[in-house]
Amino acid sequence: MFYREAGQFKTTYAADSALFPILQDKIGIVLILFVAFILVPLTASDFAIDSILTPILVFSLAAIGLNLLTGYTGLLSLGTGGFMGVGAYACYKLATFFPGINIVVLIICSGFFAAAAGILFGLPSLRIKGFYLSVATLASQFFLSWCFIRIPWLYNYNVSASIEVPTRTLFGVPVTGPTATPATRYIVVLAIVSIMTWLASNLIRGRIGRTWMAVRDMDIAAELIGIKLYQTKLLAFAVSSFYCGVAGAMLVFLWLGNAESESFNINQSFLILFMVIIGGLGSLLGSFLGAALIWGLPIVLRTVPGFFNLSIKAATVEHITFMTLGALIILFLIAEPNGLARLWQIGKQKLRVWPFPY
């Protein structure tokens, strides 16, 4: 009853294809942005910002990147971690070469390097499909991981073989490095993620998004109606890797402050993939929900025993967290295989017809 599009007529096609055609949604998004940009930095604890919100945003961006490739274009990739790594190391090198340039610019630029890597490793997709394609991306994953440790130039020959983040400022406020407060870093991340999400939503609502989805749903038919498969697939690889690269750069520069080759290993790739699947393939909102669930749930589970003042051993808590997380993933899938985003839609649908069941 409250959530109705009835009565909201669109008079132009432009308005009809707007991002949030329904008034209630518009109000919702403004509220969310207000809370995220203003309220959270003012009120949330450092722990909440730095261990929950920032990582969720960073992973959401990576998940969006992967979702563009896997969810929208139907190309399964297990190389996300590697592409994130390319972004991170590229950003590190750029920061070394151009200490004067604004770090946010560099973070964005590093995406281009990831995109180039994405195109390179996406080439086999022209011939190989499905799970078979995943091996190409796996090859990239392992090869890139190997490069991150074997090419000392990438980490400026540090003996620790890791990259550390120098302190850089934006309008005089430090945004990277140890002196940057979690809230500042969070706001920068949030801004980048918001803008890039908006851009991604533009892409997928237009011609490019449609060709991607066409390729995903039935590539043969897509080709027969005049879509060039190789262009489409490579573009998807490029854009996807760009997003992952930026996410990787943010992971190091705006969150962890330090990284080594292991930060971008195969497990990272799987993690992002699971966020995408749990969130919902082919849904931007799902990328956020998935990241929130997969990253946030273990943290919540870990704090649960504390609430009840149960003194369970740290290891046992961890084991039970693992078991619960596993069980919850399965439960979620059974409840709604198409991901949290679909669950959300069904919820909206129910709201629309409320108080009637259908």
């Binding site: 070394t96 540090n158 402050g257």
Partner: protein
């Protein structure tokens, strides 16, 4: 608040490295529990221990850090080089000391650049130089290595790569060749081609910087290839019972460095048994007390306890802040007599840390696997400080340069107690 000192322990009892993480965690935990049970804490201040499970993952480690940093921890023990590296810049900002006992960033030994990080008793470079001293002793002089090949098998990550500069310098100094055998993380249990290469290259000695499942596999593969085990030496992280045991009798002769004693015959350990384990207040399984990594955990906890005592002495307060703990650590001095006093006589080499030297470059010894247990086969060997220190200074300078603007040390130094 009531007198209480908060000590978070970053541990990993899960994940692929749980085998090494668990006994260390047990040792640390039990020692503090023992102090609480026996003495009512340290200097009248009860120790509040809280474990945070990292699973040996950096992100989790940072998360643990964020979750404890608001609770005024006296000191943090990350127990992972990766996590230590991630925390080094943060520690200075939050004024929380970090103890990375013989791991982490070697350069953090330089107190003027890293006031908040402590890594006694020795750095990896010290460890490598000790190994060479030992080899030199066996060969009758390091110049005997001339023209020979030394193999270096290592975990292909920051940890395993760190000794490389010194190793190559040694190679230059003593005229031997180095063969590197990196083991990628995913290949830890799949080393057959590496050991084939060893068979081809016939190194006179094999030195290992391994961790987790890499160690037992290496020992087994070495035995399989017929490599002379008493020419195969691991760093102190490659010397747990679990590393050598799976090879069975064939693993006999395998050597490794150590800086804590093995065995349970120390009054403090017996107190742990009496006050903690026998009371059922411990997770330690039977037989683990006295094992190498368990004792390492005890040593770690003992050093912290001494640091706290020192800080209490300096400030005259029971409850100490991170700042005070840093001062306590920076003037830490545990003589052989003091070790004995706290029930750990001969457990470790005398240890001193100073404001400028956060490490101390202490001695270690070589132990050998006799098929069932570790046996000490050398004296305490001091590292080649002259070779290590310039490297350390250079590394610290390099770190500072690369991380500009790195804050200058502002913390004052106490006099050594």
């Amino acid at each position: 608040a009531s007198a209480e000192t908060f000590i978070p322990l970053f541990t990993y009892r899960t994940g692929p490295f749980a085998n090494s993480g668990t006994p260390i965690a047990n040792g640390m935990h039990d020692y503090f529990s023992m102090l609480n049970a026996r003495d009512g804490g340290i200097g009248g201040s009860k120790v509040a221990v809280e474990e945070c499970e990292t699973g040996y993952k950096n992100e989790k480690g940072v998360e643990c850090y964020e979750s404890v940093k608001g609770k005024h921890p006296a000191i943090i023990t990350p127990y992972s080089t990766g996590i230590t590296l991630a925390l080094i810049p943060k520690a200075a900002v939050d004024h929380i000391p970090i103890l990375s006992m013989a791991y982490g960033l070697s350069a953090s030994a330089v107190g003027k650049d890293f006031p908040w990080i402590f890594n006694p008793p020795a750095t990896y470079w010290d460890g490598l130089s000790i190994i060479f001293r030992y080899i030199g002793g066996k060969e009758g002089g390091l110049d005997k290595l001339k023209g020979k090949t030394i193999g270096y098998i290592f975990f292909d990550g920051g940890y395993g790569r760190e000794p490389l500069p010194l190793l190559h310098q040694f190679a230059k100094d003593y005229g031997f060749n180095v063969k590197e055998y990196p083991v990628p993380p995913a290949q830890m249990q799949n080393q057959s081609s590496i050991w084939l290469s060893v068979r081809r290259d016939r190194p006179a000695y094999m030195i290992m910087w391994g961790w987790g499942a890499m160690n037992p596999t290496a020992v087994q593969e070495a035995a399989k290839t017929g490599y002379p085990m008493d020419h195969f030496i691991g760093i102190w992280w490659s010397g747990s019972e679990d590393d050598a045991r799976p090879a069975g009798p064939a693993g006999k002769g395998y050597l490794s460095l150590n800086f804590n004693a093995v065995g349970a015959n120390f009054p403090a350990l017996q107190d742990i048994k009496k006050y903690v384990i026998d009371k059922g207040n411990s997770q330690t399984p039977k037989g683990q007390l006295g094992e190498n990594f368990y004792n390492r955990g005890v040593l770690n906890a003992a050093v912290i306890a001494e640091g706290i005592r020192n800080a209490q002495k300096l400030t005259g307060k029971k409850d100490i802040t991170g700042d005070e703990m840093r001062r306590g650590m920076e003037s830490l001095k545990i003589t052989a007599a003091r070790w004995k006093e706290i029930g750990l006589g001969g457990f470790a080499a005398p240890m001193a840390v100073s404001c400028s030297d956060h490490n101390g470059h202490h001695s270690a010894y070589v132990q050998q696997w006799d098929g069932t247990k570790w046996v000490k086969v050398s004296d305490w060997i001091a590292p080649m400080k002259d070779k290590v220190e310039p490297l350390l200074d250079a590394a610290a300078a390099d770190y500072v340069k690369k991380n500009q603007p790195w804050p200058k040390r502002t913390e004052a130094c106490d006099k050594s107690s």
